[in-house]
Amino acid sequence: MTTMTIAKAINEGLRAALTDNPKSLLMGEDIGALGGVYRVTDGLIGEFGPDRVVDTPLAESGIIGTAIGLALRGYTPVCEIQFDGFVFPGFNQITTQLAKIHSRSNGNLSVPVVVRIPYGGGIGSIEHHSESPEALFAHTAGLRIITPSNPHDAYWMIQQAVQCQDPVIVFEPKRRYWLKGEVDVAAPGTAGDPFKAHVLRAGTEATIVAYGPLVPVALAAANAAAEDGHSLEVIDLRSISPIDFDTVTASVQKTGRLIVAHEAPTFGGIGGEIAARISERAFHSLEAPVIRVGGFHMPYPVAKVEEDYLPDIDRILEALDRALSY
């Protein structure tokens, strides 16, 4: 076991992937000498050289589009998008090309491209630097979307993304980049399947599903609820596409109540999809409607008021009160 931050764990995971797979390479803006704006690729260009840690022109469509071409030639590119709000110039390449090439080639071609996107708010940043656009990608068949919440998962999930034959988008919780934790670099253990949800805390009265940056918030909310005598189960979803509905369903069948928390706006979001699925799968177990805790239907607000926007412990506890009152 080694203690490291999420940023360092991804760095080590990328190092391992570059070492294991000579056809893998990193592409992105400022990922070379600078090591990325969050230093996630720090030191890698020195070890692997500029052909495998590629500082690209400042063009997101170009990054994704050329990565697709490299994948068609047998390479495994790992693209870094600098910030969540800047992925959209590459959105066309991701949704119309990357997601569809395996299907439209009738399975003859695969494009195992990984796209890393630091996402989410809470860092006091300026416009376009705090968004959570995961639902836009989850709606697109052909993509897989995962998001680690701790260093051990981060270390293994980035490597699993590189090994996957499908395109994988890794949403990295940027406000947790400096969250420290134990990493077992020898074996993934329970992190063996990146598309499986993890029950982080067992409980009996309600289930909280969260992912990425809100996992620590959900755990803190469960602690606070315990002090008030309520037993909450906390699930780290880990994968947004596919979603491990089996784990969520089993939990709700036990607790009877479900709260889904994410930073992204609730309207049209992942929480709505989970609510619909669970109402189908566990209707008779539900003691209360599924409650979503998330962002409002507005552009991500200015930094000085983002605390009012972001789900926090109290927002989750308020939802719990409502769930328990049915």
């Binding site: 000579p22 390479l25 052909d51 690209t56 022109p57 063009a59 469509s61 170009g62 994704i64 589009g65 050329t66 990565a67 697709i68 071409g69 490299l70 994948a71 068609l72 030639r73 047998g74 390479y75 590119p77 110039p89 066309n92 390449q93 119309t96 090309q97 569809k100 090439i101 395996h102 299907s103 439209r104 080639s105 009738n106 399975g107 003859n108 071609l109 695969s110 195992p112 068949a141 052909g142 897989r144 996957c164 034959q165 499908d166 598309f195 596409s241 596919p242 979603i243 491990d244 509905f245 089996d246």
Partner: protein, 423 residues
């Protein structure tokens, strides 16, 4: 690049002569000259650079180029007819662009990789794609239709210019393969078994306005990627003339990216072949990308859903028919005694045979099972897909032995909403 015949037009109209003069004023120098070897009169001219390449074309090769152009034109007529008969949902005709496509495609080597748009039926022919398979997409039985790994001819891309970036990325992969091979060869003492390869990215004058073309040229230039950008300027992006896409000859844009740009008479198969061969050599030798603008004309409609009479004059079409790529090569072959009546008769018979094959095969193209769509959405197992497939199987089983429910309105709606893809 030597002395070339002067370019005097965008598309032969007075308005565009003015536009060209404006472009000269902006740029402070004449627009790029146009390479032409075989003129509409069927006489072979001279070029200080490209005549050397053209002179390598034996009479047999020249006859082959003619036969290819005739075959793909016959195929185009047949596919248009199949659409009119309701056998295809849509067709994208290429008539008028045979020389641009056959000339460039025949200049490529087997190890090269081609990224087409959706109109490169002639290039597909040169890459040995089964032309019946090409029709799968237009019949609605596949979104692809052939395995690009068999022919190094990528699937058609309908989102304009997206493939130009794929081409550059593929070329960046070739560069890395060469380095890996070189380092392996150093270790093992053997030389690389792979011949040097290059990539061709096709696009049109309409797509030239897309941002992806710009980004692809930036990436190609920055990394000196072995890619040839082959722009068929066919003068019309559906109903919008080239003049709306650009104020300068498209080939001149290469200058801004720092690599050569050449305008070639796209109806001159000999010049297109020569220029493309030169550009591919340039790329394979590690000298970087080249932009070729093949100056040609879409004689027919954009697609079978289009009506050019609404936006352009018949006189313009007639002016371009006078520059027909097949007619001028036929004149040349006949005047040089390289081909006789028997040859042209055989070309016609072969074309009819191809048309019959395509007609027959199109009728037989099997409608796929939607289960293949479930199977091909992801490369690896996916629980949601599995769940939805299981539901579909159970649902379908409920109809075992029954006729499908009547949907009277459906046929009418489908006909009305016939696809009008692309630009």
């Amino acid at each position: 690049m030597g002395t070339h015949l002067p370019s005097t037009e965008f598309d032969g109209t007075a308005v565009d002569d003015q536009r060209e003069a404006d472009a000269e004023a902006v740029m402070g120098e004449p627009p790029a000259p146009m390479v032409q070897l075989l003129g509409p009169d069927g006489k072979l001219g001279f070029d200080t650079v490209f005549t050397d390449y053209a002179s390598k074309l034996t009479p047999e090769v020249l006859r082959g180029l003619y036969a290819d152009m005739a075959a793909i034109r016959r195929f185009d007529v047949e596919a248009t007819a199949l659409q009119r008969q309701g056998q295809l949902a849509l067709w994208v005709p290429l008539t008028g662009q045979e020389a641009a496509q056959i000339g460039s495609g025949r200049a490529s080597q087997p190890q090269d990789y081609i990224f087409p748009t959706y109109r490169e039926h002639g290039v597909a022919l040169t890459r040995n794609v089964d032309l019946a398979e090409l029709l799968r997409q237009f019949r609605g039985v596949s979104n692809g239709g052939w395995n690009p790994k068999d022919t190094n001819f990528h699937l058609y891309t309908l989102v304009l210019a997206a493939q130009t970036l794929h081409a550059v990325g593929y070329a960046m992969g070739i560069q890395r393969d060469q380095k890996l091979a070189a380092s392996n060869a150093t270790g093992s003492g053997t030389s690389s078994p792979e011949p040097d390869a290059a990539v061709i990215a096709y696009f049109g004058d309409g797509a030239s306005s897309e941002g992806d073309v710009h980004e692809s040229m930036v990436f190609a230039s920055s990394y000196n990627a072995p890619v040839v950008f082959f722009c068929q300027n066919n003068h019309w992006a559906i109903s919008v003339p080239t003049a709306v896409q650009t104020r300068v000859p498209l080939s001149n844009r290469a200058k801004g990216y720092g690599f050569p740009g050449i305008r070639v008479d796209g109806n001159d198969v000999i010049a297109v072949h020569a220029v493309t061969e030169w550009a591919l050599e340039h790329a394979r030798q590690g000298k970087g990308p080249v932009l070729i603008e093949a100056f040609t004309y879409r004689v027919g409609a954009h697609t079978t859903a289009d009506d050019p009479t609404k936006y352009r004059q018949a006189a313009e079409e007639e002016a371009w028919r006078a520059k027909d790529p097949l007619v001028r090569l036929e004149k040349y072959l006949r005047s040089e005694g390289m081909a006789d009546e028997a040859f042209f008769a055989k070309v016609k018979a072969d074309g009819d045979e191809l048309a019959a094959y395509v007609r027959r095969t199109t009728h037989d193209l099997e409608t796929p099972d939607i289960r293949t769509a479930f199977a091909n959405t992801y490369a690896e197992a996916h629980p949601l897909v599995a769940e939805e497939l299981a539901w579909f199987e159970e649902y379908s089983a409920g109809f075992a032995g029954e006729e499908p429910a009547e949907e009277p309105a459906r046929q009418a709606v489908t006909a009305q909403a016939s696809p009008k893809a692309g630009h």
